[in-house]
Amino acid sequence: MTRPVVTVDGNEAAAYVAHRLSEVISIYPITPASPMGELADAWSSIGKPNLWGTTPTVIEMQSEAGAAGAVHGALQAGALTTTFTASQGLLLMLPNMFKIAGELTAAVIHVAARTVATHALSIFGDHGDVMAARTTGFAMLASASPQEAQDLAAIAHAATLRSRVPFLHFFDGFRTSHEIAKIERLTDDDLAAMIDPEAIAAHRRRAMDPEHPVLRGTAQNPDVFFQAREAANPFYDGVAGHVEDAMEELASLTGRRYRLFDYVGHAKAERVVVLMGSGVGAAAEAIEALVAAGEKVGLLIVRLYRPFDTAAFLDVLPETTRVVAVLDRTKEPGATGEPLFGDVVITLADAAASGRTMPRVIGGRYGLSSKEFTPAMVKAVLDEAGKESPRPRFTVGILDDVTGLSLSVDDSFRPSTLGVIGALFYGLGSDGTVGANKNTVKIVGESTPLHAQGFFVYDSKKSGGSTVSHLRFSPTAINSTYLIANASFVGVHQFDLLEKMEVLDRAADGATLLLNSPYPLDTVWVHIPIEVQRQIIDKHLRLFIVDATQVAMDAGLGRRVNTVLQTCFFALSGLLPVDEAIEKIKASIAKTYGKRGEAVLDRNFAAVDAALAALFEVKVPTEVSGDARMRLPVPVEAPAFVQSVTAEIIAGRGDLLPVSALPVDGTFPTATSQWEKRSIAFEIPIWDPSICIDCARCALVCPHAAIRIKYVDESTLVGAPDWVLTAGTKGKDFPDKRLIVQVAPDDCTGCSICVDVCPARSKEEVKHKSINMEPKEAHLAAERQRFDYFLSLPEIDRREVEVASLKGSQALRPLFEFSLACSGCGETPYLKLLSQLFGDRLMVANATGCSSIYGGNLPTTPWAVDGNGRGPTWSNSLFEDNAEFGLGMRLAVDIRGDVARAALRGLGGVLGDELVTGLIEADQSSEAGLADQRARVAAARERLEAVDSPEARATLPMLDSLIRKSVWIVGGDGWAYDIGFGGLDHVLATGRDVNVLVLDTEVYSNTGGQASKATPRAAVAKFAAGGKATGKKDLGMIAMAYGNVYVAQIAMGANMTQTVKAFAEAEAYPGPSLIIAYSPCIAHGYDLGEQMSHQKEATASGYWELYRFDPRMGQAEEHPFKLDSRASSMSFAEFARKEARFSMLAGANPDHAEELMRAAQEDIDERRRFYEQLAGLERGLPGEEVPT
């Protein structure tokens, strides 16, 4: 029987089976498992049925805990149920997993295994999460490739129904979940043959039904609980047999044979490696090469990890084995060894007790957080195992120079991969390289006999991020589960990358290099950095260039060069005849983009057709020439830690950092983004002081703090170079100073929001504003000089500034700068403002999400320090607990203040009563008050340091607690409205002085735009592709119900003054405060450069009302609720049509869209009426005439 061959990633492979075999799919997004839920939702939304003709119900929950609860309930009521998750998500499911397993309920959870956050969050893959679930009673099945992710998914679904034991099916996050490979798809007949209908019927019969009621979920006492727990044992004893049966059925259907434990290698192996997951591919290649070289080594692959079938394990392990090396992709600090190691030791010890020879067992850790795992590392492990006294515990893949656990690896060991073509592509996220490469893998995989593999490495930058695509093509199956180290083709899709990345380190001798070059054939060589030229010569590379950017521009595709370079790749690689390749590329373009319209196809086809005419071979000179050099990752003046650690990470050499280089507890210095000069903008804003009206709006709205303002004394500017630009100030704020508006040219991302808000226009030419986007290259040198000069000017004294005003706030140095957020991010202007207003005493509890990534993802952080070294201190706990985390900070700050004040009271003799009283009773409500208190603290420190008494020494560390802290709890709507809502609600109810800032993008932005309860009616989002049918939760109103919570809803673009005021009032309010900040996101689908103007429309249409609710006003017998936005002057439809999230639905389903839009307008009208009533404005019922 011929089965369809498809080219899919591991997530899709598993989700396909899960969707075919389920009725209820309860989901919550989490990287790297999100695509499984998204695919299931997409399939169900178009009515794709399961194996039995029913479309599975897919429901997005508020958290993984919620998803697991719904899974449990659906199972209890008899539905075939599944879910997908990873990492913290799996941890949140644990309580229900114990229940589901304890009740012997057939279910499957598919897990894209991911690191659990410890000293840091990591989205990448290891087994930390699934190992935390091994006590739940779930059976655990490990897949090692996309093909296995499909096959073992089917085995899991089949076996759980037969065994009644629920299954956790896992595969490695990213390495398998995101690897694209050619696989043979299981047919419905295959699945039907594997699933036992009687087992389904039995599952139904066990379900809750009032027609035959049962009681489940009892509470039991010491008398019976234990026995009842043991009563399930026979079911666990039966699991292995059921899995074997399902594996056997799959083998008879497809020829692909899996066993509980598989073995590859020498039949009489003396050294055997044991592992599970994607590392199997690399290990198998190593074993094959070593056996071929005459070594007696083998690999034991674990597939069914729980229940651990010792007999099956012993059955496949050669009796000749002298040393077993067990590799765990997890770390269990303090344990005698990692979990798989422990299982193997126990198994062998039991066997030894029964007379089998006990081999030596050594255990090591590898591959944490997707750390590269190669055949060379496997060889290193086997070499260690072959030593007379091998290390009992070790690590491999890193250099541990602290505890010395790591093995040395000989990277020159590379098993022959004859016939395999390895191709590497370096590009930017924005140029479409990855998308085209995915299509290339599909083209080759699905239209040639070759096997194809695609794996993609992204960095964590949300703007200007680079991508590296690793593509392999081979006449035989590809098991290489590691990055390409010896590429026969290297494509560099952005010329600038030559000076930023080591693009030829992985090029093989004689490889082909394709460069997207803006320079012509005769001059390109001297523009290539000399270091790269040297590699080209030494590695005997053939060099080709194409001006893909120009070809793409001519075709009307902007800078999306992907299809041009894809065509050149096919022409140079010879994988297909050129004409056939072009035909296939066009077919794949039509398949990928066809729905979007003919213009898209025509333009891409034109780019493909023009590509080869622009492709030229460069005759490689024998010598290097020119003066182009690779850039240093950070400037030489950067601090030592930045030089030694941060710079290495920036340069892509983080893998080489030894253990000793890294902090032991995840603590890093702040103020590091200033050293990472990425220079990614094509155009930057240039200031024309002659027409500036000194409004400060450009600085306020800049998402990257790349537009700065200083007000300086004339005297400071005496002797300033003539290229320094200044302007006179306007208004009352800084009458005697000069104004400087300066761009940070290497930090600007070119979003142009500053230009959008600039109100000053030239009288001679309206399009010329006081800030204008201009080509960066023409201004770079001058603006770099100006920016350096600008930084050298003194910062203004905070006491001179009316901090809580638009202009005042922007006169202050941002302590959140140059973040790696998306260009034009709608969130970051609020954080920057926060840092200006309270940055020198700011503590931030940051929920996981976009803001924790651009705020805290290595290598650098935008949180910065002022000239005194003070600045925001920042921490991220989890996604779900952020409000509680921040409350904890507040409690600590309060108690530490109390302790300090108590201590001071006993030190009057040393410090003087006046100083003690001053410190204790300080009014710190103003900048002057704060400065005075800092002076008192300094004085107290000086006096205490002079006194060598136990009391003085004990009090010294407490002094900083006397300076007022500003505690802010920051997160997105996914946190505040959904997963963290319970905690947020509780924290607000405590009445404690915390400030909550919700950066409301109305979707889960960080994981790619899934709907949250903040998503408005009528918007499309992932998990709401048909348009969200329900309205947005009114979080502000819920908080107001407590009566003692300050609540503000703001939109910076709509009302900048109200925004600044709200921050100041919230911070000053001595109880809980909540600010809900409208934060446009690329998931809204419009040019974010226009977001501030568009925010005005959001408010003008009533879509986003502005208000402030101040409980103090209520006490003063005024209306506590102040509606800051006027009655709507435009319809919701007028506002919404500019955003793709609303307009796409109108294209896809106009009738439904119209219905939802009408309902959304009604929501807006009704909310406005309600708010007006709250605000005490004279309003009647709908349609009722109100006397004026």
Binding site: S430, Y458, R596, G597, C822, S1005
Partner: protein, 333 residues
């Protein structure tokens, strides 16, 4: 005896000369049904703009691609929809729905932007069931190097190309801004137009004095504006072998009567109907009968062109001298 209102336009028999012009009214089939009930004899659907299709298509592409395949946690930001309908599908569907709901002829309108676009979309409109096609030919010749001859050639090439691609009747809607309108009209007919729709009424940009922005200023027409089509219909009547449709400034039965007298085969209305709804059409319909009756016309056919330039005793009154006199009388007053 009630006067007979039948007329013939583009070779199609119509029950009266009242036609709904291309406008947003045509987007809503229910509204068209009300127009038909009120007396409309045919309707022209709003234009299908090739440029809009291309723009929508690239806009969807742009937002879907932006930020995608760039960051490991979010390989895309918007869901893929089953369809985007950026192409002509919705318009073609509108033709089908209008045809189904109405018994009067449905005329599709097309504004192309590429030579291939004109013919390909015209064919699709025909295949979707349009009874006739109105070509809404419009481009501003802003290039100082482009001669008027070249501009006119573009018009004629489009008409000829579409004519050869479709078999349904073809009307051509143009603006009045040709050096030789009469000559251009004749050449358009020679190129294949079965009728001329006079004139296209372009939205003209305005300046927002506070925001210093150029803004589109949509102003509905008034009866005053019918003078321009009235003059040219009177001049062209009998001189071109094609139907003549008057559009712009038709607001009441008197406007209709004037245009019929000048030689229009049909009169097209949008502004009056947008402003007042289908009730106005009924009023015009009733008013036209009353006027004809009062003035003892037997039929529309009888009056059509009776006051064309050829039909009036002082033909030059439709030409430039007329303007001079008017101006002179104004100054004396």
């Amino acid at each position: 005896m009630t006067p007979r209102l039948e007329t013939r336009y583009l070779g199609i028999e119509l029950r009266n000369p009242l036609v709904v012009s291309a406008s947003p009214i045509g987007k809503d089939v229910e509204r068209l049904v009300r127009m038909e009930e009120a007396g409309a004899a045919a309707c022209v659907l709003p234009s299908l703009f090739e440029e809009q299709i291309e723009h929508d298509s690239m806009a969807v592409h742009s937002v879907l691609e932006y930020g995608s395949e760039s960051y490991p946690e979010a390989l895309s930001y918007l869901p893929e929809m089953v369809a985007y309908n950026t192409g002509p599908e919705r318009y073609l569907d509108l033709i089908g729905r209008a045809r189904e709901a109405l018994s009067i002829p449905v005329i599709a309108s097309l504004n192309g932007s590429s030579p291939g676009g004109w013919t390909s979309y015209a064919t699709q409109l025909q295949d979707a069931g349009a009874d006739a096609i109105e070509l809404n030919v419009y481009f501003l010749a802003t290039d100082p190097d482009e001669t008027s001859d070249a501009v006119e050639r573009r018009y004629l090439d489009i008409v000829a190309a579409v004519r050869s691609a479709v078999t349904v009747p073809l009307a051509v809607k143009v603006g009045p801004y040709f050096s030789s309108m009469a000559n251009m009209a004749r050449r358009l007919v020679e190129a294949g137009a079965d009728g001329l729709v006079l004139f296209n009424r372009f939205y003209q940009p305005d300046i927002d004095l506070e925001r210093l922005e150029v803004v589109p200023n949509v102003v509905l027409s008034s009866s005053v504006e019918l003078r321009l089509p009235l003059r040219w219909i009177a001049i062209l009547k009998g001189r071109v072998d094609a139907s003549l449709a008057a559009t712009t400034g038709v607001h009441d039965q008197f406007d209709v009567a004037k245009l019929l007298l000048a030689g229009a085969d049909v009169t097209m209305m949008a502004s009056a109907l947008l402003r007042h709804g289908s009730g106005r059409l009924r009023e015009i319909y009733d008013g036209l009968i009353e006027w004809l009756d009062l003035h003892e016309y037997e039929s529309v056919e009888q009056m059509k062109g009776s006051m064309s330039q050829a039909g009036v005793p002082d033909p030059e009154s439709f030409e430039r001298a007329n303007y001079m006199e008017t101006l002179a009388s104004y100054v004396i007053r």
